[in-house]
């Protein structure tokens, strides 16, 4: 085996991703240090850290940061916990299980923009929505979900979409579990909960780590759902960092400030990645 061959084989992935990182990122770094507003062409002088200061001191910055982290955390919690329980319940055969499984994983294949439109118009709409109909049926006042609980509504939509992904991975993992060991434990007098806690959960450790990793990556930069449903509002209640940067770049045409925001988001992503990898990295590459 030639020594250079393994290195050569990694090169296409490495180089293409390096270019994908370096080319736009260096342009973003450059833009972030100049005055670059599309409404004022030709005035691209160097402004140092002013764009960063402007982005950082914006009223929306702290809410957006808080919302970004809340969204990641709550979606992870909701999807992983519910998917574990559903996967355990689906683990034993029953009539029509395969159909139930198909229904359960379907939302993952739905386009995020369509997901947002379904929930906005058909589920959460205060007049025509299904939830409003149910609320009224119980004699309650319908809730205007997206106006009253904007971030919560978006978290529900995202959890609906991503629970199936977690479920799919957990179901599969449970199938490979050693059932004899489980039965032996039950015969030895372990309770159902103990089997779950000391056999099932440890077995799921690595799948859970994989799910958390992939979901975090996607939840950090959620955009379509917010764009379609709340537009970040009311106020900044459902603005996350990705949406805030978008608002700066494409609604206020301030490329310089948006670029600074982009870099801040990159730094935040790296901080989250650092802690995430410290917390679950052992399970990932072990």
């Amino acid at each position: 085996m030639q020594k250079w061959l393994p290195r050569l084989l990694v090169m296409p992935s490495f180089i293409s991703l390096l270019l994908w990182m370096i080319v736009p990122l260096s342009m973003t770094i450059y833009f972030s240090t100049i005055r670059y507003n599309l409404l004022y062409p030709g005035e691209n002088n160097f402004v140092g850290g002013m764009n960063f200061e402007f982005f950082y001191t914006d009223d929306a910055f702290w809410p957006a940061l808080f919302n970004t982290l809340t969204l990641v955390g709550l979606v992870l919690l909701l999807t992983v916990v519910s998917a574990i329980f559903i996967a355990v319940a689906l683990d034993k055969p029953f009539r029509g299980r395969s159909i139930a499984r198909v229904l359960l994983i379907s939302p993952f294949f739905i386009m995020p923009t369509v997901n947002a439109l379904i929930w906005k118009n058909m589920m959460m709409h205060p007049v025509y929505g299904v939830l409003a109909a149910i609320w009224t049926g119980f004699g309650l006042e319908p809730v205007d979900w997206l106006a009253q609980y904007p971030l919560g509504s978006i978290i529900i939509m995202l959890s609906w979409q991503w629970m199936p992904f977690a479920l799919l991975i957990f179901i599969t993992s449970l199938q490979s579990m050693d059932h004899e060991q489980k039965e032996a434990a039950l015969l030895d007098g372990a309770s159902g909960w103990q089997v779950f806690r000391y056999l099932t959960l440890p077995h799921l450790a690595r799948p859970i780590a994989v799910v958390m990793m992939i979901e975090t990556i996607f939840m950090l930069s959620v955009f379509a759902e917010i764009f379609v449903t709340t537009g970040g509002g009311p106020g900044y209640e459902s603005t996350n960092l990705a949406f805030l940067i978008f608002a700066q770049a494409l609604m206020q045409f301030d490329v310089g400030v948006a670029s600074a925001g982009g870099l801040i988001a990159v730094i935040l992503a790296n901080i989250v990645a650092f802690f995430l990898i410290r917390a679950i990295g052992k399970n990932l590459v072990a």
Partner: protein
């Protein structure tokens, strides 16, 4: 004790019932959109929604006529499948090398690759837009295919790596003793043994590309738009045409949902390699 033993052959009705309830609950929004697609605009906004109505297929015709559904669908197929093929071509050798010939730097390399995925797309939108504009690639399926290849690559490499890593090394050594070289290893060990893993990775990549909206909306318009672009024209507040919106949504999602249903076995089988030790 006896209560615990009974857990083993539990054939009660409560668990299946709960499973079915949750499954229908989760599927309900999709069901709603399919049903609404077959209603007239009048029926679509009735409160409470009626389940008894004469289905009509006129909405689907209107979507094809008004939005040129077929063209967008073809673009979606080209970008989703093209980018997946490209990503696999690039990623298979890389993941093979990292899984079979690990070095000290392998773990860091993998984590770095994943971290590129954490970059919010809006952060690099302006540079990419400018680059596409200068090279004349704006509104081409080619540019979109390349972008999808790059944004899916980290996940594709990662998943393939975790499938390849679990291939028993003994098989590898046996093949090597038989005198196989690298190409032989890839052909006779890697590909056959991880076919399920490769298939499920491909499926995930196709789903992600098909459903991607941000780059599609920002980099394409009339020529290279995908179904995600088409849907975005229905989300404008020009009026709540729910039946048409539902028909368009159904037409945009159906191909990939059906593919997902049919490939479910493959997907599940593939994930058994990767997510499970």
């Amino acid at each position: 004790m006896s209560k615990d033993v009974s857990l083993i052959d539990q054939t009660g009705w409560l668990r299946p019932l709960l499973c079915w309830f949750v499954a229908l609950l989760v599927f309900f929004p999709i069901l709603m959109i399919i049903i609404t697609a077959f209603k007239t605009e009048q029926q679509a906004i009735e409160v409470p929604p009626s389940l008894l109505f004469t289905p009509t297929t006129e909405n689907f015709g209107i979507v094809q006529e008004r939005s040129d559904y077929l063209k967008f669908a073809i673009n979606s197929v080209i970008t989703a499948f093209g980018s997946t093929l490209l990503a696999l071509l690039i990623a298979i050798p890389g993941a093979y090398s990292m899984a079979f010939y690990p070095r000290k730097s392998t773990k860091n390399l993998l984590l770095w690759m994943l971290s590129t995925k954490m970059l919010p797309a809006v952060g690099v939108l302006v540079p990419i837009y400018i680059l596409c504009q200068r090279t004349g690639l704006l509104d081409t399926t080619f540019a979109l295919t390349i972008i999808y290849t790059l944004i899916n690559l980290p996940i594709v490499v990662w998943m393939l790596f975790s499938y390849f890593k679990d291939i028993p090394k003994e098989i590898l050594e046996a093949v090597r003793l038989d005198g196989a070289d690298t190409l032989g290893e890839i052909r006779h060990v890697l590909l056959p043994l991880s076919l399920g893993g490769i298939a499920s990775t491909a499926l995930l990549s196709i789903v992600l590309s098909w459903n991607e909206a941000f780059w599609a909306i920002n980099l394409t318009s009339a020529d290279a738009g995908t179904l995600a672009t088409m849907i975005s024209t229905y989300s404008s507040p020009e009026g709540l045409f729910w039946a048409k919106l539902s028909a368009a949504s159904t037409m945009a999602c159906a191909p990939i949902v059906v593919l997902g249903w049919f490939c479910q076995k493959q997907l599940v089988q593939g994930l058994t390699f990767g997510a499970v030790k």
